[in-house]
Structure formats: C-alpha cells, structure tokens
Amino acid sequence: MVDLHFLANPARFRRFSQRVLPSLGFATALMLAVGFYMAFFVAPADYQQGDTVRIMFLHVPAAWLSMAGYALLAGLGASLLVWRHPLAALMARAAAPVGASFAAVCLLTGSLWGRPMWGTYWVWDARLTSMLLLFFLYLGHIALSRAYDSPERGDRASAILALVGVINLPIIKFSVDWWNTLHQPASITRLDAPAIHNSILVPLLWMAVSLLMLFVLLVLLRTETEIDRRRLENAEAAA
C-alpha cells in the first residue's frame, strides 16, 4: 500500500501535485467530454421520463460525490486531530466548498428534474431533505473554518465538527427517512443486479468516474492555493 503520510508534508505534496495536475486536468476534460456526449446523444431516452432522464447522469454522481466528500472531510479531520498533519487542514479547507458545490448541483438538478416528473421543484421528501441537511453541514464547516482570526483554530474546530457530523449523518438520514418517504428507493446499490439497463448504466458510471476525477482535480488545485495562501499569511505575519 502506498503510504499517504508521505504526502503530508506541504512542500512534498506541492511537488507531487504539480507533476500530476496537468495530465489529470487533460484526462478529466477528455473524460467529461466523452461522458457528456454519451449522456446527451448515445444514451436512449427513458420511455417514461423522456429526455429528462439525462439529468440523472449529472444528478446521481453529484449526490454520490457530495456524500463521499463529507467522508473525506471527516477523514482529513481525524488525520489533523490525530497526526496533526498540516496538509490535512489545508486540504479540508479546499475540499469543503467543492463538496458543497456538488451537493448544490445535486439539489439544483434534482429540482429541475422534479418539475416535469413530479410536477414540483421541491417536495419535502426524505432523500431531498437529507441532502439539503448535508448541504447545511457543509456550510457550517466552511463558515466555522473561516470564523477565526487564527486559521489554525478554524482548522481544528472544523475538524471536530466534521467528525461529529459524520457520526450524525446516518442518524439524520434515518430520522428523515422515518419522517417521510416519497423518493424512489436506491436502484444501483442493491445487493442483487442493478435495476438499470446497461445503455443507461454505462454512461452513468462513466460520468461518475469523470466527475470523481473533476472532484480530485479541484481539490488538488484548491489545496495548492491554500498552501500558497497560508505561506503568504505566515510571511505577512513575520514581516
């Protein structure tokens, strides 16, 4: 297994990311172009949903990645609190707005899909509501990490919040499910075979991989910016 602690040093991380970023950026652009082509032109229209089913190719991966993004925040938070890795804090700062954006994309595309399909932009359904609450948890994390004059305090406070949030997410999910369910149950992450035809499933998974690459790309890019920003602040404080 690759020892990721190796990358915990900001300078070493920077060398790594500068080597990786150009090719990752190129690959992501290519993957996304192919993915959108498949989503818009190759995948068949659904017999019930018509062309609106194409929104799902963006909506579903955005939902997956926004949830994975919060798990990443919690992992980075644990890494900061346990090993005091300086890079973990900077990467959490970089990742939180990206995760929040994916949650926002999920909510927006969902409501655009809901208008023709359910006849309304928004319903107080369990899955919509728990995604909205996830979005609020992201906002809290972002606001808390920037609420202090000393950035280190914001880093550690938001790390604790991410860990508490990740414990609470299943509880929130469960309680909101109890509260109301209208959204269709999960159709891919079932134990038996996926309930989706391959003509839809392949573009969906392709888009999921492309958007995952975009997520990683944005987080790496923003982490570099955060490293530079922190250095600048330290230099200003020293001057």
Binding site: L137, A157, I171, W178
Partner: protein, 221 residues
C-alpha cells in the same frame, strides 16, 4: 464526581443570582409561540395541528439563544484555563456545564410547553405528552448546543454561526419530538418516539462531552 457537582452548583448559583437571564429565555419562548396564532390565524383545528411542531421549534430556538454564553464567560475571565488545568477530566466539566444549562432552560421549557399547548388547542393527553417529549429531548439540545458553543468560542459572529452548526444536528430530535404528538393524534402510543428520543439523548451523552472537551482544549491553547 466531586468536581462535577461543585461546577454544577456553581453554575446554578450564578444563574440564581441573576434569575432575569432565565426569565428572558422563557419570555422569548412564550412570545415566539404566541406570534404563530397571530401570523397564521386563530382557527383551533389548524393551531392544534401545528402546535407540537411550533412549540418544539420555539424550544429549540430558545435553548440555542442562551447557549452562546455557556462557555464565553468562563473563556473571558480565565475560569476555562483553570478548568483545563484542573486534575479531573475536562469531559466531566463539559457535562456539568451542559447539565446546568439543561436545568435552567430545558427543564422550565418542558414545564411551560404543556400550558402553551393547551392555549394552542391540544387536548386530552397531548399537552402532557408534549411535556414528556421535551423533557426527554431537551438534554440532547443542551449537549449538541454545548458542542456548537464550544466550537464557536472566540469566533467572529459566534451567535449566528452557533445556530448554523447546531440546528442541522438537532433535526432528529425535532422530528421525533414533534412526531410523537402526531402519533398520539393518530391513535398510536408515544412510547416508540420517546424511546428513540431517549436513545438520541444517550448517544449525545456518550459522544458530545469528548467533542466539547476537544473543542475547549483547542480554544484554551
């Protein structure tokens, strides 16, 4: 344990010397709930339908309102530094502070809510059930709110930030608290809901003191 009771009694004594602070929170609770009939209209069936949700939300806001001072006074006058240096766990100190907060807000709110429930047109066993759900549910609010208060200690605009952090985490308690009264109206018992509220409170009791202590430690550094 001795330190726990000492800190709890100290906080309660501080509140007793200035009972107005508790009075303001309870007054906020009453005024906020009274605004709903004025805004929505006096139809009794509508009010009885929304009573539990309104009273639960108002109790949540009232509990949050009093939280931003929970650790702030100790932080400013140096008591927190002494608590950090004390030879007994900071987790117990955090628990004592939250317990004191619950005794002066959660408990009176739970006693006051049934009266307001009757004013909203709840009848039969509903007002009493509302009081019971608040009694079981408000400790969770004090613990989660205490965590948000500890995390925002010394932050800019800490009041609004505290609400942003605490409210999403309080959603499960709100759902099962208000849901209990609806279940009662639908002819089911409230035992399930109260049991889940108690479970939520126990989870909060088992996890938040550690998180609060961690937050206080990094605030004290």
């Amino acid at each position: 344990m001795n330190g726990f009771t000492t800190l709890l009694m100290r906080d309660l004594r501080l509140v007793l010397r200035r009972p107005g602070d508790v009075g303001v929170v309870l007054a906020f609770f009453v005024v906020a709930t009274v605004l709903f009939p004025l805004g929505i209209g006096p139809e009794t069936n509508v009010l009885a339908r929304i009573a539990a949700g309104v009273l639960w939300c108002a109790a949540l806001f009232a509990a949050l309102l009093s939280l931003d001072r929970l650790f702030a006074a100790d932080y400013e006058d140096g008591t927190l530094d002494l608590l950090l240096l004390a030879p007994w766990p900071l987790e117990l100190a955090a628990l004592a502070k939250c317990a004191a907060h619950w005794i002066v807000t959660g408990l009176p709110l739970s006693l006051l809510a049934p009266v307001l429930g009757i004013a909203f047109g709840l009848d039969g066993p509903s007002p009493l059930a509302l009081g019971v759900t608040l009694l079981v549910g408000t400790p969770t609010l004090s613990l989660i709110g205490g965590l948000a208060a500890a995390l925002t200690l010394g932050a800019r605009k800490s009041g609004a930030l505290l609400a942003l952090l605490a409210l999403p985490l309080c959603v499960p308690t709100l759902i099962f608290g208000a849901g209990a009264i609806e279940a009662l109206a639908a002819g089911e018992g409230i035992v399930t809901h109260v049991a889940i509220l108690a479970a939520l409170a126990l989870v909060a009791l088992a996890t938040t003191p550690w998180a609060i202590a961690a937050a206080l430690r990094q605030a004290g550094e």
